[in-house]
């Protein structure tokens, strides 16, 4: 397992949201999707922190869009899951599902 990236719960959620949003994933839609799922306010700063960590682990890549007036002339940064990120998501799912099904009290129940 040496060299494998370890994912926090929040990072895994961000990766899954990125996959769902596809090409239009930048800070605001990502935080809104997370807010909708968790029912809590999600700080944009924490989203960017998680994205930065994921980029350092090479699980996410980013590119700059065009600057717009409504953003004070600042560009949007779009994020995308990399091939390594996809592998990490599949692996996390396999491990979590395996752990989940081994708890009889929870097996078969909806999360």
């Amino acid at each position: 397992m040496a060299g494998r990236a370890t994912l926090s719960n929040f990072e895994l959620m961000v990766l899954l949201v990125l996959m769902r949003l596809g090409d239009g994933a930048y800070g605001i839609p990502i935080s809104e999707a997370l807010e909708a799922e968790t029912g809590r306010e999600v700080a944009l700063g924490s989203v960017y922190n998680a994205l930065e960590r994921l980029q350092k682990k090479h699980l996410v890549s980013s590119s700059l869009g065009d600057p717009t007036a409504e953003r004070g002339g600042r560009a949007k940064r779009y994020f995308k899951v990399t091939a390594a990120g996809m592998r990490e998501i599949r692996d996390a799912r396999r491990v979590l599902t395996s752990l989940w099904t081994k708890i009889p009290a929870l097996a078969g129940r909806k999360a």
Binding site: S46, R71, G72
Partner: protein
């Protein structure tokens, strides 16, 4: 459509204290436009600053703690017990002045005896040379200011420590010398350790400036002065004042010189950080 403006103070704090992130600043502005409140903007900004800087701030506190510990480490080859026997320099003479600038490390001959001073001197020379080059050749210098300043600072530190080694070899008190085993081995070891000590301060100073935690050069200069408040130079100076060894005119001169030096180093540090660390667009 008129654009609403988020609280200017919050935006200013994000720009100056937050980790540089144009995309985040743009996102906050865009979402604020979508009928978000000032309270929401403030919350987001404060969280962004705290989240972006928490690790850096912790590392900086750790670095300063390490440096404080390093101040307790005497330079190799020095008879520390013998040093304690002699009287400390007066704040009113030039040795006492340099001791004050080094936070008391010079008279204690610790590994940080030279402090950050060689880097400040090198920055002054580097900035002046870059200015002259630009004036004479009408183009930016071919060597980077930072590389030039670093090289010069290390050379200055090595020369100053050699001078200090030669000075210490000649000193004695009650028939005992300060240096355990005088000679070239001692001189080279002292040069290596004091230059490494200053190099270490320079590395941390650059790290702080690069991470935009503040101006590293000025922070280290001020912390050396601050250390002098708690270590020997400043308490000793007040003892001299009480004993009547220092007149009020001399006191006024020392305070004026100290304020002038702080202002000068502030200006040098500002221009050095602006010219050596900030990215410039390609010509």
């Amino acid at each position: 459509m008129t654009m609403s403006t988020p609280p200017p103070l919050a935006t200013w704090l994000l720009r100056h204290l937050g980790k540089p992130n144009e995309a985040l600043a743009g996102d906050l502005l865009e979402k604020y436009e979508a009928k978000r409140s000032d309270a929401w903007y403030w919350r987001q900004v404060l969280f962004a600053i705290a989240a972006g800087r928490s690790v850096d701030a912790l590392v900086m506190v750790g670095a300063l703690a390490l440096l404080s510990l390093g101040r307790l480490v005497p330079a190799p080859g020095i008879n520390a017990g013998q040093l304690a026997l002699i009287g400390r320099p007066s704040a009113n003479d030039s040795f006492g002045w340099y001791d004050l600038m080094s936070g008391g490390n010079l008279s204690s001959v610790t590994i940080f005896a030279l402090g950050i001073a060689p880097y400040v001197t090198a920055a002054v020379i580097g900035l002046a040379a870059a200015f002259l080059w630009t004036r004479v050749f009408a183009q930016r210098p071919v060597i980077s200011l930072r590389a030039c300043t670093w090289t010069l600072a290390l050379v200055l530190a090595a020369l100053q420590s050699l001078g200090m080694a030669l000075f210490l070899e000649r000193q004695s008190a009650r028939g005992l010398t300060f240096v355990i085993d005088p000679g070239w081995t001692f001189r080279l070891v002292l040069m290596a350790s004091l230059t490494a000590g200053t190099g270490c301060l320079m590395l941390f100073s650059d790290w702080i400036t690069e991470r935009r935690l503040g101006n590293g050069l000025y922070l280290f200069f001020l912390s050396s002065i601050g250390m002098a408040v708690f270590q020997s130079p400043i308490p000793r100076f007040f003892a001299e004042l009480r004993a009547g060894w220092v007149s009020s005119t001399q006191l006024a001169w020392i305070i004026l010189r100290l304020l002038g030096t702080c202002a000068f180093v502030a200006v040098v540090s500002h221009f050095y950080a602006r010219n050596a660390f900030e990215q410039k667009p390609a010509a």
